[in-house]
């Protein structure tokens, strides 16, 4: 099958165009470096390939190297039918530089090239003049105005590349040509950049109205007084919203599951099967499902921040503070994404120019409280922190406790990064450093539809992926906890015997054997914890008991000291096999994930034991 390649500068709208052409829902956002791998999908009998953004055909970061290596391979492939170069109409000159390089290479390889000038809707709305026809004649390649966001010009673009004839076998071995090309020399760069400048001046937007509005907003968001305040308020809003907005949905799901569980159990006459449905399926798997709305809200709020263009500003404001810990302003974007999921976040660190800072960011990211930790936090905060407000009702105590748990992870990530930066300075110095330069994208109104769709996809994906593992573990836990004496005799079950044997390991953190078993199972994946506890307390509970898992924990004797120790343990422990795997892939080292796993587990254990002793002594 033939290919169509989508290339362009970072944050020019390539992935949104890819989504529109293929019907997929890949993540898009308004900051540079969201796509770090080549994405491909079939559409209209062709394979459409979306490349990571690059400023030129010379790579400086790992994501650019992925794009350029992939491009070198694809351009000499006769199956490549056309290249679409996506240009940003609001920053045309910079986009034209890459286009001019691509024109030269595509002519050498006899590969058709189409220039798609994106964000054209903003130019039209503001009635700014722009001459795309003139530009097309001047550069000798078709130029189309499109808006991937508003779905304008996409049909014309599709018709254009579908109507192109099949390419003949290329005569040029471009892999060698690119290495030998003069794109590296000062003269060639200045010549091309001057051409881009002239073309932009002659045919580009004849008004800097968009830039002026960007400056006005930056005057506020980057001002000395408002900048740090807005940032702090936004972060507090993020954590408050997870707790506050999700509550009604969570209550609804819990109510539905309780009613369904009771009803389903009565439909089966066989006692063991009925207990299994009630305790393993509804109490186990259901305990996890209750927290899905919080995961959804988290993705929505992060999506809004990403799409608005604010994240790049936050990276600028935080660059200096983060550099004290050996990190870069760009590390903030990775670490914020880590609050959703560490796996794509660690991959997004590819955009960090400095190899040393990239490694430190990768090691610090698993400390960020990902969405899998949310159910544990929510259960403990909801059960042990009173639902009252402070500061005149503005700040909820539960939301604040949530914020503190996230803050523990962030603080520890920064401390570990700083310690590694200092103690491993010789080794990390060998990796090389690179200074910080970041482009500030225009502010845009967030596009709700893709954000909601992305949040829904991620939430369902999360449930689907975790669901199978939770189900498998809860079945095993239920079986071992149910037999040989059936429901209500958990202490004398096989699991009870096993749990009591391992209980001494967890005692210093104030945890009994049931929590110990749940912690152990959650080393497969954090999500399993709540499911396991739900099953254990389900087996133990009396018929008709619909109290929440947190209430059951309280009534079984779990104290505030134990609950806080457990929360601290979860905020610091590394309990995700997939994160370790992606860490190995991204660092190219097996030792780093092993070191991170052991280090985080030891830190989590010590911190949890300390919190337990401290709180216990204060509350006695």
């Amino acid at each position: 099958m033939e290919n169509v390649l989508i290339l362009g500068n970072p944050n020019s709208g390539k992935t949104l165009l890819f989504n529109r052409l293929t019907g997929l829902k890949q993540k898009v956002a308004n900051f540079p470096g969201v796509t770090v791998e080549i994405l491909s999908a079939e559409a209209d009998g062709l394979i459409v390939k979306d490349f990571p953004g690059t400023y030129s055909l010379k790579a400086l970061t790992i994501d650019e190297k992925v794009a350029i290596d992939g491009f070198k391979e694809a351009i000499v492939d006769p199956k490549t039918r056309a290249i679409i170069c996506v240009l940003d109409a609001t920053r045309l000159e910079r986009s034209l530089y890459l286009l001019l390089q691509l024109i030269e290479v595509s002519q050498r390889c006899h590969c058709p090239l189409i220039a798609a000038v994106n964000v054209i809707d903003e130019i039209i709305t503001k009635e700014i003049k722009m001459d795309l026809e003139g530009l097309s004649k001047e550069i000798g390649c078709p130029v189309l105005g499109i808006s991937a966001k508003k779905r304008k010009g996409l049909k014309e673009l599709k018709n254009l590349y579908l109507s192109l004839p099949k390419r003949k076998q290329s005569q040029t071995n471009l892999s060698n040509d690119i290495e030998l090309s003069t794109f590296n020399t000062k003269e060639e760069i200045i010549k091309l950049k001057s051409s881009a400048h002239e073309l932009s001046k002659k045919f580009g937007p004849q008004n800097d109205i968009l830039l002026k509005s960007q400056h006005r907003l930056d005057d506020f968001f980057l001002s000395s007084w408002a900048g740090p305040l807005v940032f702090a308020a936004l972060m507090l809003f993020l954590f408050q919203s997870i707790f506050t907005w999700a509550s009604p949905l969570m209550e609804g799901i819990k109510g539905f599951l309780d009613i369904s569980g009771q009803w389903a159990a009565t439909q089966v006459s066989h006692e063991i099967l009925s207990d299994f449905i009630k305790d393993a399926l509804f109490a186990g798997l259901g305990s996890f499902l209750v927290f899905a709305p919080q995961i959804f809200i988290l993705f929505i709020v992060i999506g809004l921040l990403e799409d608005s263009g604010y994240l790049a500003r936050a990276a600028v404001i935080l660059h200096k503070p983060l550099s004290l810990f050996g990190l870069s302003g760009r590390s903030f974007v990775t670490m914020l994404s880590g609050h959703a999921c560490a796996i794509p976040a660690i991959m997004s660190a590819r955009t960090i120019e400095s190899p040393r800072k990239r490694l430190l960011t990768i090691i610090a990211t698993p400390f960020m409280s990902c969405s899998a930790r949310l159910p544990v936090y929510a259960m403990l905060v909801g059960g042990f922190v009173p639902a009252t407000s402070i500061l005149g009702g503005i700040v909820g105590l539960q939301g604040l406790a949530f914020f503190m748990l996230f803050a523990i992870g962030i603080t520890m990530g920064l401390i570990v990064s700083a310690l590694l930066d200092k103690t491993l300075s010789k080794k990390t110095a060998q990796l090389g450093d690179a200074p910080f330069v970041i482009e500030l994208p225009p502010y845009r109104m967030p596009n709700w539809r893709p954000i909601v769709m992305h949040a829904l996809n991620r939430s369902f994906g999360f449930i689907k992926n975790a669901g199978f593992m939770i189900f498998s573990v809860t079945v095993v836990v239920w079986f071992l906890g149910y037999f040989p004496d059936h429901a209500g005799h958990l202490d004398t079950s096989w699991l009870g015997m096993l749990g009591k044997w391992i209980e001494p390991i967890f005692r210093p953190m104030g945890m009994d054997w049931k929590i110990g078993v749940a912690v152990l199972t959650s080393f497969l994946a954090r999500e399993v914890f709540v499911g396991t506890l739900g099953t254990l307390y389900g087996i133990e509970s009396v018929k008709g008991d619909t109290s929440s898992l947190a209430n059951r924990l309280q009534s079984s004797g779990v104290t505030l000291a134990s609950a806080l120790a457990l929360a601290v343990f979860y905020s610091l422990a590394m309990q995700c096999v997939s994160t370790l795997a992606v860490m190995k892939k991204e660092t190219g080292s097996s030792r780093i994930p092993v070191f991170v796993f052991i280090g985080m587990t030891v830190v989590a254990y010590a911190a949890a034991a300390f919190v337990f002793i401290l709180v216990k002594s204060l509350t006695q």
Binding site: Y55, K320, P435, V437
Partner: protein, 90 residues
């Protein structure tokens, strides 16, 4: 006039002040100089300092219709013509 007398760095620009790029300092790596030129920071081009953000954050510059935040280390390596030389050039 020697080049050292002729030039100042991007860091010397005050907010809303514009300067013309003259050369790059030798301490900037070759790859970085290439990237800066690709972004528009090339000899002869005018660059404007837009803002000095809070918390000691890297300064913000506008060049060729795009806005960049740039660490001190790089900004220091981009040499500008002195105000007098710019007037003569204009």
């Amino acid at each position: 006039m020697s080049s050292s007398k002729k030039t100042r760095s991007l860091l010397d620009l005050k907010v809303n002040e514009e300067g013309q790029i003259y050369s790059f300092s030798a301490h900037l790596s070759h790859d970085y100089t290439i990237r800066l030129r690709e972004l528009g920071f090339r000899e002869g081009e005018f660059v404007k300092c837009l803002k000095t953000p809070p918390l000691g954050a890297p300064r913000i510059f506008e060049i060729c219709g795009s806005v960049y935040s740039m660490e001190t280390e790089i900004a220091q390596g981009i040499k500008l013509l002195s105000s007098e030389s710019e007037k003569t050039a204009k």
